[in-house]
Amino acid sequence: MSAAVMEGAAGVVGTRMRRREDAALLSGEARFVHDLVVPGALHMAVVRSPYAHARITSVDVSAALGMPGVVAAFSGADLAGEWASAMPCVWPVTADMQSPPHFPLAVAEACYAGDAVAVVVAGTLAEAQDAAGAVAVGYEELPAAVDLEDAASDRFLAHGDAPTNRAYTWELVPDPEAVRRAFEDAAVTLRARYVQQRLIPSAMEPRGVCVVPHPFGGEYVVYSATQIPHILRTLLGMTAGIPEGRIRVVAPAVGGGFGSKLDVYAEELLCLALARRLRRPVRWSEERSEAAQATIHGRGQVQEIELAADADGRVRAVRVHLLADMGAYMQLVTPGVPILGAFLYHGVYDVAAYAFTCTGIFTNKTPTDAYRGAGRPEATYAIERAMDALARKLRVDPAELRRRNFIGADRFPYTSVAGLVFDSGNYEAALGAALELVDYDALREEQSKRRTEGATKLLGVGLSCYVEMCGLAPSRVLASLNYMAGGWETATVRMLPTGKVQVVTGASPQGQGHVTSWSMIVADKLGVSPEDVDVLHSDTGVSPVGLDTYGSRSLSVGGTAIALAADRLVEKARLLAAHRLEVAPEDLELSGGEFSVRGSPSSTVGLGALAFEAFSAHDLPEGMEPNLEASATFDPTNFTFPFGTHVAVVEVDTQTGRVDLVRYVAVDDCGNQINPLIVDGQVHGGIAQGVGQALYEGAVYDERGNLMTATFADYLVPAATELPGFTLGRTVTPSPSNPLGVKGIGEAGTIASTPAVVNAVVDALAHLGVEDIEMPLTPERVWRSIAAAAHEPGGDR
């Protein structure tokens, strides 16, 4: 741990302390929304369109109303008067972006299979579900825009009254002439097309909502499995026409989000409106197969990337065209997801000319939105796959090609061609460490030996060097991207009369271990044990101001706000200590939670004693307010840029197409580490999720827009049995973007691992002529690629 982080040595920061959250989670003591006991609560069941695209000709709830236990049932038309506005999208990326109105219940047209068309409310969940089956909805099926590229042609329109499926086109072309010239002058050019399949986020806990009205106070308590209680409160109020102050949002224990709970969902609004209308608590718990359709999907892009390079492989220009699948509607930040990757398609390489264009397209499928990494995994995939392809074309080792193109360690802060300032980095060091850990040269030898022997189990080695921008986000930069809110975070740190510490944060964790990390920071600042630091979060009643958790921001932004507040608390305590010890404040030193007078070490006073004095307020310096507490809001001046190199080693069975991931090395640099054990955990989970995209996962639709992968028997999420032990390494390059020097690690594993694994499989088969295999790399796809390459002359290696 760098000395810059903490005053005083020998603290807990930097140690592998076990997570404080785990005992409650593992013992079942933690309460999720579904666990909450709410007397008198009604259960809501949602009737969903079985058609991807249909005109709704009638909704008849009369039979449902006659079913046992049913209290109410409503169509979209019945509830139309409940909404002050359509559901929110806060990121209109261009001035002319199209966004069809999206209401919690569709009224005239269902636009994806799973689109909500009616609700039933009953005394028990079983009664509600039975009655939902009795709602008679008349549909007239319409042609569906399913395939992304087909939808881009406007052959079928996703919304009946829209002129086109095109939502927007967003461009980042700083110097078109430079790009044109670079491609004209290039010794080598490369053009590749990659498909980012749709992913179903699959958090361990599906969504859940319970809204408890307090009719006499006119207040609503909204319990929701959400990442964004604060943003949700504001937007629920605006959409349902309720003053913000009358809504309290509580996110109890939340079982994972990965971005899928970074949204304002129809069911949250429906429970709120029904609680208002019926004056009773209304709750809804999402089922797993329902979640596959009703919760956002991730990815969903077709990428075209071109590189222009010198004969020695120095890349001079990168040109990218994306088609991005919005799904049927704009959810909270749907249009912005590709834009989060737009600046990073040149990866870790020093490139002088850059052109990026993205067109967002509506389809008759579940809306897409942010999913772990959001835009950055897609960008990293495209450039890292393309770098491997360029290496093959030039017959250069892929590690060597990367070295020739890295942004040098001496170039930071580095202003990129896309306009970002990369805060700090040392890409070559991370690559070197990873190659050493994996014993790269020995692997290449083994690979070549197997090829020579004609083995049916071929070896492949895949590299992925990544950089991401996270620590969302500097508010001024968000303004320039048309995002409607800021990127700051708030914190209050309070030392209670007993010397225990209470922290209030506007961030809202879902299992990451933030409470552990935050309390470690505060513990070292204030000389207490982490167990003595209580962190209040995820309840707008106790933490009224915040911007919540996403984009690897909760340490670099949220944690920094906490650290700053703790520093301010110390400064207040210093004034009080000076008053008490009758010395000048600048003569005091703080160590282990105790102020001592420089040069007179026996003259001391502890923070705990000062906290009590500040509480009793019997003898405070002139003008000092009682209580030992301080608040801070941190708005970063820049993003943070974590980076690293991942190496995947696979065995490919050429007879069956089966891919076995046999080794995995990850060297990540997330700046200073508060708790390396938590960093390990985030990297582990991230790798698994990225391997999922590479080899196992994919939302499959049939041509009429039916989701074929709505159960875990069809949508394959890898388990521990599919993964090797991971070898983790780390380099530490502190970030200058925040005083903690931290960068964020929540998304890195997902960003890096997908291209590493696919590069490894293609590497294993490249000598047979295989250049690309579409994700997920199922055994059948791999087998067919081998067979196709065998029949195609000109496999060039």
């Binding site: 196992y696 028997a713 388990a719 599919e722 055994p779 059948e780």
Partner: protein, 275 residues
Amino acid sequence: MIPASFEYRRAGSVQEALGWLAEDPDSTKLLAGGHSLLPLMKLRLASPSVLVDVGRVPGLSYVRDGGDHVAIGALTRHRDLETSQVARAQVPLLAHVAGQVGDPQVRHRGTIGGSLAHGDPASDLPAAVLALDGTMVIDGPHGTREVASSDFFKGFLETALEPEEMLTEIRVRKAPSGWAFQKFNRRAQDWAIVGVAAVVDGDARVALVNMGSTTVRARGVEAALASGASASEAAARAAEGLDPPSDLQGSADYRRHLATVLVRRALEEATATRG
């Protein structure tokens, strides 16, 4: 994921279960481990009005050496079969296959009788029983009858069991060596895309998982082997006469190809381990 409402009865004996079955055989289902039936009910693909739970009927969970065969009680859970000393010594194929079903939670609940009676062509145990030339012992209102495993699997989720009957015991030929099981799936806990159970002990019996609407014997392979073909020559006939399914995990063509690869591997392995 909430099943339609149903009546639940817990049987104390086979006779009691058979009596309840006879009352309304078409809308009554037997419940053993529940790992096939309950998911169907939760998805409302099955809605029996009465569930007769036979899980606690005594005396139907055993693995016994029957001299020339091994007898397995229908309520024997996969985990008990996997770890049975008798099974491991006399029919290691069956013990091994029981250890390949689903995941540990499934194996601690699911039963061999339930798996066979369900008649799912994607299940592993039916192939093992076919390759071991098994016999099904079935109790019904008119007494006990025996059905050869080769006559038991009739169609997709359809067996020779009548609605008022109950499978009580499975008998398999001893095969202490010369066996192999190849299961090809994407994740450890998944059903096989294709699976192969092979026993080579004088004659050869090869059964295939997920290569048609029922578990099937690879008759072409067996005939080829009987006429002296090599493993790879015989394996080339693995998909002969079969009509495998196409689904998200693999097309019919891919399954045909996999069958040839996996049968060859199974035959080579079985031959190599023959004692």
